[in-house]
């Protein structure tokens, strides 16, 4: 029995792992939806040296970057329920904190960590756009907001995109740590399936495959988008 791989299990579990993709993607997308605008705004506070916020972002980045995500997960997963239960008790709200879907904690942790990474991505990307671009836009009568939306951001985005892609792929992979708070994503589902008959090798192969397929697709999507965005660069005359 224990010789070779259990191919039936390998194939069945592949689909079980695949069924975790929606949760993985949901966490990824929500984290990005929060982190992209927030990271961009905080990057602006750093570039424009906005008092207080500038320092806040700097400290925030070094804290989040300087700690492993798994520790961030443990901290959020352990402390948020405590705080919430105190809060619920005080205001007599009848919700059991342990009934809260762990996906909410995943949203918090992964938004936090991705924001920190994107602050740095946007900061470096925005600094590659010459100040003259903004000045020229102002001089022809565009407001600051219009200048950013139409001139500065499109150019910064081209520079930022490869790094945003890396951050996204890293985020997808990092959600596998969600198993530590029993998030029903790819890794947890496959591992649980493997627990029954100790078919860990098969389960790990399946997890491996699902992530590599998912990440390759995302990378491919980013490449297409990047190609479209940078059509104004290096076009042959």
């Amino acid at each position: 029995m224990s010789e070779g791989l259990n191919y039936t299990f390998l194939i069945d579990t592949f689909f079980i792992a695949l069924s975790g993709v929606p949760i993985t993607l949901l966490v990824t997308v929500v984290a990005l939806l929060i982190a992209l605008p927030l990271g961009f705004l905080l990057a602006l506070t750093r570039i424009n040296q906005v008092p207080v916020l500038n320092w806040f972002s700097r400290i925030y980045v070094s804290f989040v970057r300087g700690t492993p995500i798994i520790i961030q997960i443990f901290i959020v997963y352990a402390s948020v329920p405590l705080i919430l239960s105190l809060f619920f008790e005080r205001y007599n709200i009848n919700i059991n904190v342990y009934d809260i879907n762990p996906i909410w904690y995943a949203f918090i942790v992964f938004s936090f960590s991705t924001t920190a990474i994107l602050i740095e991505v946007f900061r470096s990307a925005l600094s590659t756009v010459n100040k003259g671009q903004l000045e020229a836009a102002q001089s022809v009568g565009l407001s600051n907001l219009q200048a950013y939306l139409r001139i500065v951001i499109p150019q910064a985005l081209v520079v930022a995109l490869p790094n945003i892609c890396t951050a996204t792929v890293n985020l997808i992979k990092a959600t596998s740590l969600g198993y530590a708070m029993s998030l029903q994503e790819i890794t947890l589902k496959a591992k649980v399936a493997a627990n029954v008959g100790y078919n860990y090798v098969e389960a790990y192969i399946d997890i491996f495959l699902v992530y590599i397929i998912l990440c390759s697709l995302v990378e491919y999507g980013f490449k297409l988008y990047e190609k479209r965005l940078r059509r104004y660069k290096y076009v042959s005359a």
Binding site: E135, A137, Q138, S139, G141, L142, Q146, R150, Y232, V235
Partner: protein
């Protein structure tokens, strides 16, 4: 038409403009000369609020504005009346030549896109780039980019165009094409305030030359006054340095 009074500007402890006055009438082509660091560029940038002056007034027709604490609305109004041509062209890299010209019309001045495209094409034709509508800045030479920059300014039909050393970043053989375009629009009666090191342009095209040094206007007058019979010692010294061939005669 445009009057600047007592404009002051410092960067840190370094006082760049020490109370400059300036009057420009409609149709004037005024050239500002002076050694680098004399505050020419800063003066131009303060007029267009790219730099915030420490103090000073600008009178623009009926509109009087404090250059230090102008409201957003006043800044917008003045920018509608002026256009700026930059030393480094500063074309929008993500837009093609035509879009560069129409951007300010469509977004800044709310002109309908079809009409703006029309105006934009005419402006590009005027600077000799009828075949480059769809070229991106990365596909154009420096001279062509600066001509798009001028078209972008002309298309806005401003009361005055401010030129900040428009040929200083160009290869010598490309300077001519840009100066020719500038001459043409000057001849059409466009009001221009030009900071430049091109003495030939100052001599041939300007109707008034201002010599600045150390943050003040040292001397101003017709090109003839300044180039042939300058009164101030500093002006003479500067001209001797930039026009050595005119003086070898006397040595």
């Amino acid at each position: 038409m445009l009057k600047i009074n007592e404009i002051h500007k410092s960067f840190g402890k370094n006082e760049i403009l020490k109370g400059v006055d300036l009057t420009i009438d409609k149709g004037d082509v005024v050239v500002i000369l002076g050694p680098s660091g004399s505050g020419k560029t800063t003066l131009l940038r303060c007029i267009n609020f790219l730099e915030k002056a420490d103090s000073g007034m600008a009178t623009f027709g009926e509109l009087q504005v404090n250059l230090h604490d102008a409201s957003k609305k006043d800044i917008h109004t003045i920018r509608q009346k002026t256009a700026f041509v930059f030393q480094n062209y500063n074309l929008f890299n993500n837009k093609n030549a035509l879009e560069n010209v129409t951007e300010g019309l469509v977004i800044g001045r709310k002109i309908h896109k079809t009409k703006a495209t029309d105006i934009g094409k005419k402006a590009l034709d005027k600077v000799g780039l009828s075949d480059k509508y769809n070229s991106y800045p990365s596909q154009l030479s420096g001279g062509q980019q600066q001509r798009v920059g001028i078209a972008r300014a002309v298309a806005l039909n401003p009361d005055i165009i401010l030129f900040d050393e428009p040929t200083s970043a160009l290869d010598p053989e490309l300077v001519g094409e840009v100066l020719t375009v500038m001459k043409n629009i000057a001849n059409e009666g466009t009001t221009m305030l030009v900071v430049t090191h091109e003495m030939s342009f100052a001599k041939d095209v300007a109707n008034r030359v201002i010599f600045m040094d150390g943050g003040v206007v040292v001397e101003e007058g017709t090109p003839h006054d300044i180039f042939i019979s300058p009164k101030e010692e500093r002006t003479k010294k500067f001209l001797k340095r930039v026009l050595p061939e005119d003086y070898t005669f006397y040595i």
